[in-house]
């Protein structure tokens, strides 16, 4: 088994070798490590992308907008990086779309890291595959096959408001149960146990 450290170092070097800057190479090393750590086939996908990178013509999304469509296909690395670098602006959009993204799995770590930076969960739908990014702590997805994804026709990204997965009624139910660990206070106990003085201002 290759260690995550080996994966990070080797991908960093490979990214530089294919023509990206050292700064981008550092990002890609971390990103593929992150994908592999979350059990997603990052190395397989980046290998395939680098195989065709120099002979294909990919476009970069520079300034991310609500709807982004290239003439050919977007590069997932530079587009992902710009998505990440503009995270504070784009998180104000409730949702955005990206068409024709090449090797979309390579875009995923940038979204996961963005989720942590902006402090919001992000939901991403890539054709029929769904991903929920939880502050870069985990990725919840129905994509389990581990195959190489060469392109995505349409990606929809939603920035989710910070809200609970339950309603007030459900909260009350669990809270009520938790109260069974509390002790009923008598007046005497109220006086003695709180640690306050005789008056609140003494």
């Amino acid at each position: 088994m290759r260690s995550f450290s080996e994966i990070e170092t080797t991908v960093k070097r490979a990214t530089k070798a294919i023509g990206f800057s050292w700064g981008i190479a550092e990002e890609m090393g971390k990103n593929i490590r992150l994908l592999e750590m979350f059990g997603l086939p990052g190395l397989k996908n980046v290998n395939q992308y680098y195989r065709i990178y120099k002979i294909s013509n990919f476009e970069d999304i520079k300034e991310i907008s609500i709807s982004n469509s290239p003439n050919t296909h977007y590069c997932p690395i530079v587009s992902g990086l710009n998505f990440f670098d503009q995270s504070s602006i784009i998180s104000e959009f409730n949702e955005l779309e990206i068409s024709n993204l090449a090797f979309p799995l390579l875009f995923i770590p940038f979204v996961s890291r963005t989720s942590e930076i902006i402090g919001k969960r992000i939901f991403l739908k890539m054709d029929d595959k769904e991903f929920l990014f939880n502050f870069n702590q985990s990725i919840y997805s129905n994509y389990l096959s581990g195959e190489i994804l060469e392109k995505s026709d349409k990606i929809k990204i939603q920035f989710l408001e910070n809200k609970n997965s339950f309603n007030e009624e459900e909260w009350s139910e669990i809270y009520k149960l938790s109260e069974n660990t509390f002790v009923e206070e008598t007046d005497e106990l109220k006086q003695k146990s709180a640690g306050a003085g005789l008056t609140d201002n003494d």
Binding site: M1, R2, S3, F4, S5, E6, R13, F20, S21, W22, G23, I24, E26, E27, K30, K62, E63, V78, L81, N82, F84, D85, Q86, S87, S88, I89, R113, I117
Partner: protein
């Protein structure tokens, strides 16, 4: 009295960093302190009469065990090389996480001796190999066989029976990634497991010479005297591999230096230094002179430094004896200020290390702060502005911004990774091939490029927007925001200039390891000694904290 931390622009020059010495903060010393309560055992020792075979040593506490697995091999003299290009070694080692099974030992026997071309697993934590100091090793075996102890004068010139030529950890060649072990309470400090490996290897070298002597001449052989054992360490040959490490781990570098500087500041701020504290300092200083006088090297560069150090120490001791007024407040501050005014870097930093000796309470609280998680500051704060970035560069890199990179000599060198060993190397940009594959170690040059690029940009421009067109400078934008929070994270010098002395970078790292007797074999590699004077494993429960000055040499 408030003493300021020393200015990074002054301290982080390579010539200054290359004058650092071991101290109470050094990892091999803090490792021994932290493993005092662990149970040591030699679990397996199956060597033939020539000393070849397998051995296992362990440290155990509660339910945790770390096992050193040693493979001693037969190699021909002409195959023995300390260089990283070697493919065979006298012995190879790995530190196993737990107690290895028979299957593990078989697997390791097929991989550990091969080192870089073998494969390790997440159950192995560190990997190393070592060669005999053959003249010394044979001398010791020969004498023990005849029932005599070896000549300590011969031993003192070298100081060890074996020297390691690499110690790997943190996921290399399949070893466990750091995240798997980083939360273990016993290994909070940096390089704990590397130190453990080297320390147990030292014991293996003693057991091996005793075993060979006994096997060959069972009637006459004696064991190596414990006092002599204590006085022997483990050597290490170190090349350029360590140099990029300190550039590539800026937060770790900061935390090491910050611990040292904080200790110095706190000690200088002590108003009433007790007589006992002063005498611990003085006694360590006097005892340590043996380490300086027995510091043997053929390097003119190092000999000049040693000569300067010995001379400065004489001047300093004379000052302490004749001109230093006892009983006045802030005695260590006065010592430091006097040293700054009268002595050279090599001796100033020597005294700084000595000043820590009386202060366990100050030092031990800093040891825990010497690790780092480089990931924590990896993300660039893209909402900051060009004005912020410019201010950071002007404040933290003012010395670097003065370097003229239009001059050929400022660009003379480049760092690259060699294809056959995947190790860092240094070459001449104007004579050698490969500068197009340069590693990002030329931080000074790239910081200057960044400064020139942002000079014409709008103050209000956000970093995220700036990067859209300037991702070629992304690696140094990241570093600039790191230095803002971690002031000692950057070498304040040109790492590609014609005046570069690469061993200064190695020496810095090795001083934090706790190495002594720096012996440069060229400007690009050196030999050092570790654990010389250290207690033996069975003596760990109780030993003197200042053992490093007890060396007989």
């Amino acid at each position: 009295m408030q003493v300021k931390l020393r200015d990074p622009k002054y301290l982080m020059k390579l010539s200054k960093l290359g004058s650092f010495h071991q101290s109470k903060l050094s990892f091999l010393r803090s490792f021994l302190n932290e493993f005092k309560e662990w149970h040591y055992n030699r679990d397996l020792f199956q060597l033939n009469e020539d000393g070849h075979g397998i051995a296992v040593y362990s440290f155990t506490k509660n339910k945790r065990t770390y096992s050193l697995v040693c493979f001693a091999n037969k190699i021909d003299d002409e195959e023995r090389s300390d260089r990283v290009i070697a493919t065979k070694w006298d012995a190879a080692f790995t530190l196993y996480d737990g107690i290895p099974s028979k299957n593990d030992l078989d697997r390791l026997a097929n991989n550990v001796p091969k080192q870089e071309v073998g494969r390790l697993s997440y159950k192995e934590l560190t990997l190393s190999r070592a060669n005999k100091s053959i003249r010394l090793f044979n001398h010791v075996v020969e004498n023990l066989s005849k029932g005599k102890q070896p000549d300590t004068n011969i031993l003192s010139k070298v100081g060890y029976l074996y020297r390691t030529t690499a110690v790997y950890g943190s996921g290399k060649f399949g070893l466990a990634d750091r995240f798997r072990i980083k939360n273990r309470e016993e290994i909070r400090g940096p390089f704990r497991l590397e130190m453990m490996l080297v320390y147990l290897v030292r014991q293996f070298t003693f057991d091996q010479v005793n075993h060979i002597a006994k096997s060959k001449y069972p009637k006459t052989a004696v064991e190596l005297d414990k006092k002599i054992c204590r006085n022997l360490g483990i050597g290490n040959s170190t090349g350029l591999g360590m140099a990029p490490f300190i550039v590539n781990h800026p937060i770790l570098l900061n935390n090491w230096i910050m611990a040292r500087e904080t200790a110095l500041k706190k000690i200088r701020e002590i108003e009433n230094v007790s007589k006992t504290e002063l005498s611990v300092f003085y006694n360590c200083l006097i005892k340590s002179l043996k380490n300086v006088s027995s510091w043997y090297t053929e390097s003119d560069f190092q000999n000049n430094k040693i000569k300067g150090l010995a001379n400065d120490l004489k001047i300093f001791i004379k000052f302490l004896k004749k001109d230093f007024a006892l009983g006045e407040p802030y005695q260590f501050n006065r010592i430091y200020v006097w040293a700054e005014e009268n002595l050279k870097d090599e001796c100033i930093e020597y005294i700084v290390s000595m000043m820590m000796e009386p202060y366990d309470s100050i030092v031990s609280s800093l040891v825990d702060k010497m690790s780092a998680d480089e990931n924590e500051s990896f993300n660039i704060p893209v909402n900051r502005t060009i004005e912020d970035l410019r201010n950071i560069l002007e404040k933290n890199y003012s010395e670097i911004l003065k370097i003229d990179f239009e001059k050929k000599e400022s660009n003379k060198n480049f760092w690259f990774i060699s294809k056959n060993k995947e190790e860092p190397r240094l070459a001449d940009r104007y004579q050698d091939n490969g500068s197009d594959l340069e590693q990002p170690i030329a931080i000074a040059r790239d910081i200057k490029k960044l400064y020139e690029t942002i000079f014409v940009k709008k103050n209000s421009l956000k970093i995220g927007k700036f990067l859209i067109e300037n991702n070629h400078l992304r690696h140094v934008v990241r570093r600039a925001f790191i230095i803002e929070k971690f002031p000692y994270s950057e070498i304040q010098d040109n790492t590609i200039g014609s005046n570069l002395v690469p061993i200064d970078m190695l020496r810095l790292k090795l001083s934090f390891f706790g190495a002594i007797k720096f012996d440069p074999r060229s400007d690009k590699w050196l030999r050092i000694c570790m654990f010389q004077g250290a207690p033996l494993p069975l003596e760990l429960k109780s030993f003197e904290n200042n053992w490093i000055y007890n060396s007989l040499n």
